[in-house]
Amino acid sequence: MERTPIAKAINAGLRAAMERDPRVLLMGEDIGRLGGVFRVTDGLQKDFGEHRVLDTPLAEAGIVGTALGMALRGYRPVCEIQFNGFVYPAFSQIVTQLAKLRARSRGRLSVPVVIRMPAGGGIGSVEHHSESPEVLFAHTAGLRVVYPSTAHDAYWMVQQSIASADPVLFLEPERRYWEKGDVDTSLAPGQVAPLHRARVLRPGSDATLVAYGPTVKLALDAAAEAAREGTELEVVDLRSISPLDVDTVAESVRRTGRLVVVQEAPVFHGAGAEVAARIQESCFYSLEAPVKRVGGYHLPYPAARVEEHYLPTVDRVLDAVEQALAA
């Protein structure tokens, strides 16, 4: 157990996967010599060489398209997209090829590519660096989409994603890269939670807060605040957007009767909408109040000096909780 920032935990997870399997390769812009703009791949090119850690030309379609080709040849490429807003040149390769090749070949072809991408805002950056595009990918059949919120999960989930036979979009909460957490690296593979299992991080009986990625900490902060006022909120970290572990959420909601989903992405057509729909289908008679959603607005991500008003805050979460409790 060591206190490790999320960025370093991912680095350690990549290193472990590369040591275990010589077919694991890293590809991306500035990931070698520089170690990535967030230093997530720091030192890996030095230790594994340029054949396994590729500083690629500046072309995302190229990164994902060639990764797919290498996967056909038995490699397990892990692509880094430098920032969330720069994935779109690769969108065609991801959606039309990577996601569909298994189905198109009736299972004869396997493309175990991982695409790592920092996501979410709150870092005071310029345009295209703070977006939360997870549902564009979650809406694409054939892809798995995961989003760890803690260093421990980041360490294990990146390895599980690499081991997956399916392509995985691995989102990294960029504003949390330097937040430290305990990482238990000593677990045997069987002891690690399955990649797509949600996790209850804080038990509570009054309402359930569902969050993922960067909003998990927010949900925990809100729960701590609520506890001071005597309200006990249960916090569930989804960890995976596709597939969605509805059972874990439903089990919680059956006990609390109330649900608030917190995400950074726009609420409109967002992951929270899917959670809300599934929960009303599976536990309609346990619900005491309509499901509330807190998240970004249906707007282009605003300029840095306004972003604090766009992002969900503890107060907005508590407002929603209050409304759920009042219903």
Partner: protein, 384 residues
């Protein structure tokens, strides 16, 4: 002195257009020439100096926490000032994100650039009034729109009329790294297929963040033009006269209906990629020092001194203007008001969108509660 960049380039049979060598001595070129009247020459120097000053001030403002980020143009002044000088009022520029020289040249208040890097907006200038598109941060994403704009120019009949006030060129800026994007290849192809009036200005500053240009392409970048079917020229990007001459010819060709040209301005990014970058992790100080010898402003200054166009009084006048310019930036940036939070709900759509309107109402209601709570000295229900 031998020219560090010209040497190896020559060895590969690559010519680079130069009208001033690194020492500031005037060179002849069979294909290109340019003559500046003394006043205009001093004005070019003035623009070079102001652009460098903008960079220095912005870097300092970033360090003081007044800007979130800064992407500097230091070292690339001649490429930008020279190219901008080749344009006419009706021409249109599609910049990337460190093309501040084009904005100054086209009369944009530099505070409108700094507001972007402060995080106040995405660039405050009027793209139509100044003929400068908003900065594009997605690498190469401005290239196809620039070609499309040029196709619009063609359809307006604003090409090849011979009227110097009407014929229009479109200049698009991009970096060496950008040439790797698929869209860059598409843009060259489209421009060539439609014979669009475009000048592709590639500022090859040798680096794309930490990646040297050889990791983007094994062939000199201007040779991309050949495959696309347009002329490609490599110009010394630290030679403001050569850039002016080459881009002027390319823009004239575009305006006259001759079609697109690819210009590779061979230059160097003297500073970090942005203030968030640490170039000591990937490049040697010796390389930077070698390029410092090729400084675009010193070179032009030496030339003007030799011509007798620049004397101490003129130099002082420029420095005084630069000081006043800097003072204005230092005073203006900290005073920039933050936008009203609700302003983010503006302009996402031209026509009403019910969900956005509902979200805005909800936001405003929460905001009003927050303001009220503030007055009551409480933070309950507020944003922070």
């Amino acid at each position: 002195m031998t020219d560090a960049a010209v040497g190896p380039a020559r060895a590969r049979g690559e010519e680079m257009v130069q009208l001033l060598d690194a020492t500031g001595a005037r060179r002849e070129h069979p294909g290109y020439d340019v003559h500046l009247e003394p006043d205009e020459a001093l004005d070019v120097l003035r623009e070079l100096v102001l652009l460098r000053r903008l960079d220095a001030e912005a870097e300092a403002l970033q360090r003081q926490g007044q800007l979130g980020l800064w992407a500097g143009s230091r070292g690339q002044e001649a490429a930008q000032v020279g190219a901008a000088r080749a344009l006419r009022r009706q021409d249109h520029v599609f910049p990337s994100y460190r093309d501040h020289g084009f904005l100054l040249a086209r009369g944009v208040d530099p505070l409108h650039v700094l507001s972007l890097f402060r995080g106040v907006d995405h660039g405050g200038w009027d793209p139509v009034a100044h003929g400068v598109h908003p900065y594009t941060l997605v690498i190469a994403a401005q290239m196809l729109p620039a070609v499309g704009y040029a196709m619009g120019v063609q359809r307006d009949g604003a090409v090849g009329t011979g009227d110097p006030g009407r014929d229009t060129a479109v200049l698009v800026c991009f970096g060496d790294g950008a040439t790797s994007q698929g869209e860059a290849a598409e843009a060259l192809n489209w421009a060539a297929v439609y014979n669009a009036p475009v000048v592709f200005l590639c500022q090859n500053n040798q680096w794309a963040i930490s990646e040297p240009v050889r990791q983007q392409s094994p062939v000199p970048l201007h040779r991309r033009a050949e495959g696309a079917g347009m002329p490609g020229v490599r110009v010394d990007g630290n030679d403001v006269l050569a850039v002016l001459a080459v881009v002027r010819a390319a823009a004239e060709r575009a305006r006259s209906g001759g079609g697109p040209t690819f210009v590779e301005a061979y230059t160097y990014r003297m500073g970090a990629h942005t203030t968030a970058d640490d170039p000591t992790r990937y490049r040697d100080a010796a390389e930077v020092d070698a390029w410092r010898e090729r400084d675009p402003i010193d070179r032009f200054r030496t030339h003007l001194r030799a011509l007798g166009v620049l004397d101490d009084a003129a130099e002082r006048a420029i420095q005084q203007e630069a000081d006043a310019f800097a003072e204005r930036l230092r005073a203006g940036v900290p005073q920039m008001p933050d936008p009203h939070p609700a302003s983010m709900f503006e302009h996402a759509y031209a026509e009403p969108h019910p969900q956005v309107l509902a979200e805005r109402d909800e936001f405003l209601a929460a905001w009003a509660r927050h303001e009220q709570d503030e007055q009551l000295g409480s933070t309950v229900g507020g944003d922070r």
